[in-house]
């Protein structure tokens, strides 16, 4: 089992929430030389009171927790990097009719790359976070496993980090439940013990992502302008007020009057169209993902793996039918519902995260390719 030993310096990314507070506390308890660092990522709503993270209050909470633990605390300004790597992508993905996960890119580029540079600067051998995932060894190599508590597992958001980072990564709370985490926080006397959990994207504190898009794209952006609701047959059945308000699998805000419950099954940005259909139309037999990245040696075409197409979806068995440096295509053993372009496709072997990619499209029908 890899991990820091007493006396080694660990940089802990501290959001001001209970999870990272406890991560720091456990490492202090283990005798590590812990340094808390809070990332300042954006200018939005820094002064919104009670916001769970990235606000002045959250930064103060992190500082107070570090004070309680008797460790130093710093704030690092990563606003420019975060804007370039995460915020811009978030906006452009929605503008292209996709549903991005900014947390994945933040982990890949900000937390586990830019912040790692800060760790280098302060001679910290290790970087720790309060994610619910676990580090372990397999065949002599460090691997990342799912968090032990399936209700809290956050490994889905971590597939994109650079493989070389695994050797320096510490995830102290991945074997706990949230209840256990809060109990540890209480035991250490941390002020964040009963803090409400952040559910929203940190730069969308009110959950209104359209407001953020409007700020960046303008009111008259195509993705925020009216367009048709269509059936899969092409028939127009209504008008929506901007396809960026929709995501594949969404049920809310669709026209009524159909025998079956209707869902968004596809977004066609060039035509500003939102295609809707019954539950069956959501089923995909395959998936294509790009920006593929591996945390282990890449598997091979023909291998069977388990994949997850959204954060809380069940892992589904699938066979790899195409694979190159950046693109992967898989065939599901059973159809999978609501495959949404822009979300992550995360590939597991049991509880080990193998890697992942960004979903490009689903395949309704499977092509027969030579290698199968």
């Amino acid at each position: 089992m890899t991990g820091p030993v007493a006396g080694e310096r660990v940089l802990v990314a501290m959001s001001g929430g209970v999870d990272s507070s406890v991560a720091a506390a456990l490492l202090v308890g283990a005798g590590c030389d812990v340094v808390g660092v809070t990332m300042k990522l954006h200018q939005d709503g820094a002064d919104v009171p009670d916001r769970p993270c990235c606000s002045l209050d959250a930064t103060s909470d992190a500082r107070r927790v570090c004070d309680t633990l008797g460790i130093p605390h710093y704030v690092t300004n990563l606003v420019d990097h975060f804007t370039d790597d995460v915020l811009r992508d978030f906006v452009s993905e929605y503008a292209r009719g996709r549903t991005p996960i900014p947390c994945v890119r933040c982990n890949t580029f900000t937390k586990f790359r830019d912040l790692l540079h800060k760790a280098d600067a302060i001679d910290a051998r290790w970087l720790a976070t309060g994610h619910y995932a676990r580090m372990g060894m397999r065949n002599g190599q460090p691997v990342m496993r799912r968090g032990l508590d399936p209700a809290k597992d956050q490994s889905y958001f971590l597939w994109g980090i650079d493989r070389t980072v695994l050797d320096r990564l510490v995830l102290p709370i991945g074997s706990q439940t949230k209840v256990e985490t809060r109990e540890i926080a209480k035991r250490f006397g941390l002020r964040t013990a009963n803090k409400v959990e952040s559910q929203d994207i940190c730069f969308v504190p009110d959950g209104d992502h359209v407001r953020v898009l409007r700020e960046h794209l303008g009111d008259d952006a195509p993705s925020l302008s009216p367009g048709p609701f269509r059936l899969t047959t092409g028939e127009v059945v209504g008008e929506h007020d901007g396809f960026a308000r929709f995501t594949v699998g969404q049920r809310k805000g669709l026209p009524g009057g159909f025998a079956d419950a209707m869902f968004v099954v596809e977004i066609l940005p060039d035509e500003r169209a939102v295609v809707i259909g019954p539950r069956d139309a959501l089923l995909g037999r395959g998936v294509v993902a790009h920006d593929v990245s591996w945390l282990v040696d890449a598997p091979r075409v023909g291998d069977t793996v388990h994949v997850q197409v959204r954060s809380r979806a069940k892992a589904a068995a699938a066979t790899i039918i195409r694979l190159d440096d950046t693109v992967i295509e898989l065939a599901f053993h059973e159809p999978v519902s609501a495959i949404s372009p822009g979300q992550s496709l995360v590939i597991y072997d049991g509880d080990v995260v193998l890697g992942g990619g960004v979903i490009k499209s689903s395949r309704r029908e499977l092509l027969i390719v030579g290698s199968m």
Binding site: T38, R63, P72, V75, N77, K118, D120, A121, D167
Partner: protein, 383 residues
């Protein structure tokens, strides 16, 4: 090791001792008619007189404030608001002022006035011809910082004040970093308003003073009782006023010795660092500077990482302007001087003072050189 005296200084033991009775038996309100009140009033008046002596001022020209920010706001907004109806609606300042001055001047603009910024050169010296261009009969107040808090560069305040006065312009100077570092005499120098802060000179945070020359038009910021001639209503902080006067006297008494000591310390520090880091940049190096501040950039480093690494090795200093949440962003002072972003983002402000000696400085130089070499060398391979 504390190398951040321009941020704040510890309260001096003598100051603490002088203040102590006012947290105990001499707790009276200076406005009360009884014995307790009288005692407090006498101490407050004494403190005012003592501070006035330190400034070459009349006692009635000393107004105690909560600190530098209040003094700057009071001076600029007070002078503007009093004179705007008379057609003097502009405020002149420089882009390298403390945020307290810049934000007060922005407020003048927000209230319908005009903000005029005088150019500075690459060394942080004010462009005199541009100052002259900015001063005319529409200007209510001009404000120029005596010693810059980030780079230590000094402006020729007496001469600028004279020029402003000749044009009927009220002249203010933020002397928060200048007091005790350069001679200040209101009897011979024509500034109208001068801001002081206690915690930069060994008095507590939360006390300062504004020198207000007699007959200077100045609308109060606060409205209330008649304390301080109605200029600054509110029950006076007697203890802190006594502390400020005591600290000011001590600083002036030690000025000659301390000035020499700090100058030698800084010169040694800069010379050693230049010798070991050949591409070192010291901002404002060619300008006249107060003795206690050096602002340097080591190319290829970043201030934020350096500050963390220095702190973890027990060395405290500053970068550019610290923002509210404690993270670091490029300094507006260096930006105004035309320092490129890559160098501005590497800037460290080191400010010497009472807590430093020669041995400590040697250690600071070693640590800085070690960190610089590490930051600029190949990244560590942890394995």
């Amino acid at each position: 090791m504390y190398l951040d005296h321009a941020s704040t200084t510890p309260v001096r033991a003598e100051v603490l001792a002088a203040m102590e009775p006012f947290f105990g038996p001499r707790f009276g309100n200076p406005s009360s008619v009884h014995r307790w009140g009288r005692e407090a009033r006498v101490s407050l008046d004494e403190a005012r007189e003592r501070l006035a002596v330190c400034l070459g001022a009349h006692p009635d020209e000393v107004c105690f404030t909560s600190g530098g920010t209040e003094g700057d706001n009071f001076a600029i907004l007070g002078a503007y608001r009093t004179q705007k109806s008379g057609g003097r609606t502009a405020a002149v300042t420089t882009p390298i002022e403390h945020k307290a001055v810049l934000a007060a001047v922005h407020q003048v603009a927000a209230e319908g006035g005009e903000a005029r910024l005088v150019r500075v050169d690459a060394n942080g010296c004010l462009d005199r011809a541009d100052f002259t261009r900015c001063i005319d009969t529409h200007v209510a107040v001009a404000s120029v910082m005596w010693v810059n808090n980030e780079i230590g560069v000094m402006q020729d305040v007496p001469s600028l004040a004279a020029e402003a006065k000749a044009n009927g312009v009220v002249f203010h100077t933020d002397a928060v970093q200048a007091f005790g570092k350069t001679a200040i005499n209101a009897a011979t120098m024509p500034f109208d308003l001068l801001t002081l802060s206690g915690h930069k000179i060994g008095a507590p945070k939360g006390i300062g003073a504004l020198f207000i020359r007699r007959n200077t038009p100045l609308e109060p910021m606060f409205h209330g009782g008649s304390q301080d001639r109605g200029r600054r209503p509110g029950t006076e902080n007697v203890a802190f006023a006594v502390g400020l006067a005591t600290a000011a006297e001590l600083v002036l008494a030690e000025h000659a010795v301390e000035d020499r000591r700090l100058r030698v310390m800084r010169e040694t520090f800069e010379a050693r660092l230049h010798a070991r880091i050949t591409d070192l940049v010291i901002h404002g190096e060619q300008a006249a500077r107060a003795p206690h501040i050096t602002n340097l950039s080591i190319p290829g480093t970043d201030s934020e990482s350096m500050l963390m690494a220095l702190d973890l090795r027990g060395i405290a200093c500053s970068a550019g302007s610290a923002c509210q949440s404690g993270s670091v962003s490029a300094s507006h002072v260096l930006t105004a001087m035309g320092v490129p972003p890559s160098l501005a983002n590497a800037a460290l402000r080191i400010s010497f003072g009472c807590l430093n000696d020669d041995a400590g400085i040697e250690r600071a130089i070693d640590v800085l050189c070690t960190l610089a070499a590490k930051a600029r060398g190949p990244q560590p391979a942890f394995a």
